[in-house]
């Protein structure tokens, strides 16, 4: 019985602080997002992030959720991604690839510093996480693009060729 109460107490406390943190971060982030949309900051700043999104084969619109996730972690990156998905700023392909990239590499300052404090090498961690995530994302992109091409062939055969040669 005490175990169950203990579990409930720990869970509730943890949830309470998580929700507080979410509100404290997400409300300013979403207000920022609205302002950026209104003043077309994404379109204007896209050229500066082109190298970053291009090396993941994503559209420049992916920069904002990408940077948010890299700095603040998966949950906040996901929150911005949800908003991008709602407003259809990103294609399904980009959404999935961003999800994959961020699940492997996020919160690069805080998490990496925690392990550095324990004795790990900061630059090894940073570099290997980027390499891992970029490789995985590019491989997934390759598969998605190939499947899309195949799917495209199946759903829209060129006229006269539906039944083979």
């Amino acid at each position: 019985m005490t175990v169950i109460l203990n579990i409930l107490q720990i869970s509730l406390t943890r949830c309470f602080w998580t929700v507080l943190l979410l509100l404290a971060v997400l409300i300013p982030v979403m207000v920022l997002f609205e302002y950026a949309r209104h003043y077309r900051i994404f379109e204007k700043s896209a050229p500066y992030f082109k190298w970053l999104t291009r090396c993941l084969s994503l559209s420049p619109a992916a920069a904002f959720p990408l940077v948010t996730g890299l700095v603040f972690g998966v949950i906040f990156g996901a929150a911005v991604l949800i908003e991008c998905a709602r407003q259809e700023l990103l294609t399904k392909r980009d959404l999935m690839l961003l999800g994959l990239f961020l699940s492997l590499n996020h919160s690069i300052v805080e998490d990496n510093l925690i392990f550095t404090a324990l004795g790990a090498n900061f630059f090894t961690l940073l570099l290997s996480r980027f390499v891992i995530a970029i490789i995985a994302t590019r491989i997934a992109a390759l598969f998605l693009d190939r499947n899309k091409r195949l799917a495209g062939l199946k759903t829209a055969p060129s006229p006269g060729k539906e039944y083979g040669k």
Partner: protein, 145 residues
Amino acid sequence: MPVHRDLLRRGIVKGLKTTWMLIKIIVPVTLVVVTLDQLNLLMPLATRFAPLMAPLHLPGEASLALLLGFFINIYAAIGVITVLPLTAREITVLAVMILTSHSLMMEGPILRFTGLSPVINTLLRIATALLFGLIVNLAYTIFGG
């Protein structure tokens, strides 16, 4: 300034909506994760996986740190790492693995809406962690350090 008031209002509403969406995932998962942690349910699994730590140049006890990192969160893993006598090399290998693959039960469902199934995401992340743990370990063996 009606524009600012409108932008502010919309931003706040969206922040609240998104928070609510995330709460629906976070609360049940937290309950499961805390239960796993408090009842020490991962311990028997860890002893079974201990022999697999040898190719990673890690002591058998490190398997508990990995499992706690995978299924609970990095802080649970850190709790184990601090009590194990590990070299900088071993901690770096362990850290690469845990950082690529952690809080799987939380982060998988949160990213479901991107079209990435939580199961596939989890398997992919564990496989990636093992693969790159081996690679980083190999790099240390080859280049020294």
